[in-house]
Subunit: 414 residues, 2 copies
């Protein structure tokens, strides 16, 4: 019996590429700030393209800012196998979230090339545009447009905190990437596999190397705008004030009570809270805050998400409040056949595995809408993520890339 | 009987100068953004100097960024009479807060010159550096250093939100103002009179034109730093989180309960509330919020201000919190003799007046430490201030300038 294709996976090369990408947008305190469509994000895409082209892969990009590298197959008419993740990060993000899935996919292609294999289907490595949603909310924009879940025109209108639109940032990125041929949005895909760090503590805690992702928990995101009136901190009485901050604090307090889940399964987060004019001696005239709500059971997610507007209104005091839902994604389950491929490959390689629910959202959520999809998780130290301290081991990274390689080969040969 | 000196006050000139200064840092929505030591703030000082020099006044400045215009007296050895206010504004400020006191002082000098009077004491018009404290907190920096209440080195170390230090901003402003001679910090002053808009609704409501300010209510300011840990909004459980925003919201809620004053005399304001990293899908790692606490009774101010740290610590949950007091100014009363001068001048001119407590802080607070001081208030529509809607009438502005002129003449002749 010959060595498996995945035996050509190089732990050293895979780890070294993580280190090289971590230099792009590196922060002074050990993390990465490479927000979507920033010069750093574009530079990371260009580095990826350079590595792929050195391997003989063809680069392409689409109007949604997604970047692709194609490893040709023997049957040009066969629908491709897609694999990848994202290169953008949170403002104080880690080195592995997203990056791992892209580099593991590239490493799988390295292994397939090194083994001298040309599978029937071509394999396409993708870096999706704006998964994180920290600069332009909500995230997973590139995969949403690819899958037809959102329209390009809709995401183009979204603005960042400085008033820059996605459309204008995309045009700027397109200039920097102009040497890479543009291709039409979306296409037939045979199957999609995304490798990712777990972003939770379970694999490490239970001593397993591979997480066979059963599905992704549902998520709804909201933006709450509280409008009051600016006033002098020393002269305006409480009775006269329309204090947007005090109203927003009352709303967040009441929401926190309503969202209390004894079982601690519900995830309720206010990540952004921006005050205007944000000056010490001015009663705030406005507050904008975000709500991120997640639960694996769609019924719970529907009930609690639908309660938000009434809670905000009941606590607005003398202020006005408007609640806008930015995204609404119910829980999903990946196809049993795709999950079996990951289990079987792990078993064949003697790598431990377990089933696991993804509590984080991923691009696979949207790609799942257009083709059979799956996700491979590897451990993430203490589950710390969206944090500069995020860490994984080179061994786990290589093990995940090996399983991914075997799953991709299986799909590409079929 | 000859016409009073103040009959030379020109309502038109005074109003026109307000309009001209409002162009410097004008916002699209009718207000002014001319924060301390910004290019706009410096430009406003240069405009003031140009007007003063046209009147034959001598310009000077000190190391704390305060700008002076001197109208010479007949006795160069006599301590001067000081008058003025500030030209800096809140980020979304109005056209009159501060500016009025500077332009009314300049108009008084115009009237004295036009009347052909040379009083014994010279009169100095001052524009104090950074009264507002919105860019560099706390405010009233220039007057504090002038009065010896704060050391120059202490204020130089203060940073704005972009990390720019007062020291470096002062050096930049000094370059732009280099044509104006530098003079030593502080000096003997015979008396100080500051005109200002009321920033409250009482004069307008009671139909009075002049407020004879009895004193300034006490004020304490604090900065609260809440430290948690960044985490993924979808994967970290509530039990695992150290959510700085939820801790800060609990603190603000508890503070708001403790600071509830049935009589609505206490002023409690959280004007600044800044979240890190402030991204929708990241559990916040840090929150910095400001506290502005004011009350006319020093005992109340001491008791409530001293309670803040314990309340924050009791509500920190799994986060760390540190509370730093930035400024502590007890209530003060202006000298009866100085107040009598304002009453007498108003009566002589047939202008209605009433005694009034200043609930806002002013540069007069610190100048009061080094010489007999007083303040003249004029009405401010509906008490709206620190707001782009701030408005006054040209008639009230002129009436206040006339009273100021008579008070200054009385002091300068003595």
């Amino acid at each position: 019996m010959s060595a498996p294709i995945s035996s050509y996976v190089s732990q050293e090369r895979l780890w070294h590429r993580h280190e090289q990408l971590a230099l792009i947008g590196a922060t002074a305190t050990g993390g990465v700030n490479r927000q979507a469509l920033s010069p750093e994000d574009v530079a990371a895409c260009l580095q990826l393209v350079e590595w792929g082209q050195a391997l003989g892969m063809q680069a392409s990009r689409d109007a949604a800012g997604n970047v692709f590298l194609t490893l040709p197959g023997s049957d040009a008419d066969a629908a491709p196998v897609l694999t990848g993740s994202h290169l953008d990060s949170q403002p104080t993000g880690g080195k592995y979230d997203g990056v791992y899935g892209v580099l593991a996919a590239l490493e799988a292609c390295e292994a397939i090339r090194a083994a001298g294999l040309t599978p029937r289907r071509r394999i396409e490595v993708v870096a999706w545009m704006n998964e994180e949603g920290s600069r332009f909310a909500p995230g997973m924009m590139g995969s949403a447009v690819f899958a037809g879940v959102r329209r390009l025109a809709d995401i183009e209108a979204v603005q960042d905190a400085q008033g820059v639109r996605v459309g204008s940032a995309l045009r700027e990125a397109a200039e920097a990437l102009s040497a890479i041929p543009l291709r039409p949005l979306g296409r037939d895909v045979f199957g999609y596999v995304e490798a990712h760090i777990e972003q939770g503590p379970l694999l490490e805690r239970l001593g397993k190397t591979i997480g066979v992702v059963t599905g992704i928990q549902g998520k709804r995101t909201f933006q709450v705008q509280v409008q009051g009136e600016a006033a002098h901190a020393g002269t305006s009485t409480r009775a006269e004030r329309r204090d947007a901050l005090m109203a927003a604090v009352a709303m967040v307090g009441a929401l926190n009570v309503r969202m209390h889940d004894e079982l601690d399964v519900l995830k309720f987060t206010i990540g952004r809270f921006s005050v205007v004019p944000n000056a010490p001696s001015v009663v705030p005239s406005g507050v904008m805050f975000s709500i991120d709500l997640r639960h694996p059971e769609s019924a719970v997610l529907l009930e609690l998400g639908d309660a938000i507007e009434a809670i905000c209104k009941a606590n607005a005091g003398p202020c006005d409040v408007s609640v806008k839902e930015l995204s609404k994604a119910m829980s999903l389950e990946f196809p049993a056949d795709m999950r079996k491929r990951i289990r079987d490959s792990s078993n064949a390689l003697g790598i431990s595995h377990m089933d696991i629910l993804s509590t984080a959202g991923h691009d696979a959520r949207y790609v799942h809408e257009v083709c059979p999809s799956a996700m491979v998780f590897i451990p993430c130290h203490k589950g710390i993520t969206h944090n500069e301290e995020e860490s994984i081991t080179a061994q786990d990274a290589a093990a995940g890339a090996k399983v991914l390689t075997e799953v991709l080969v299986g799909l590409a040969l079929s």
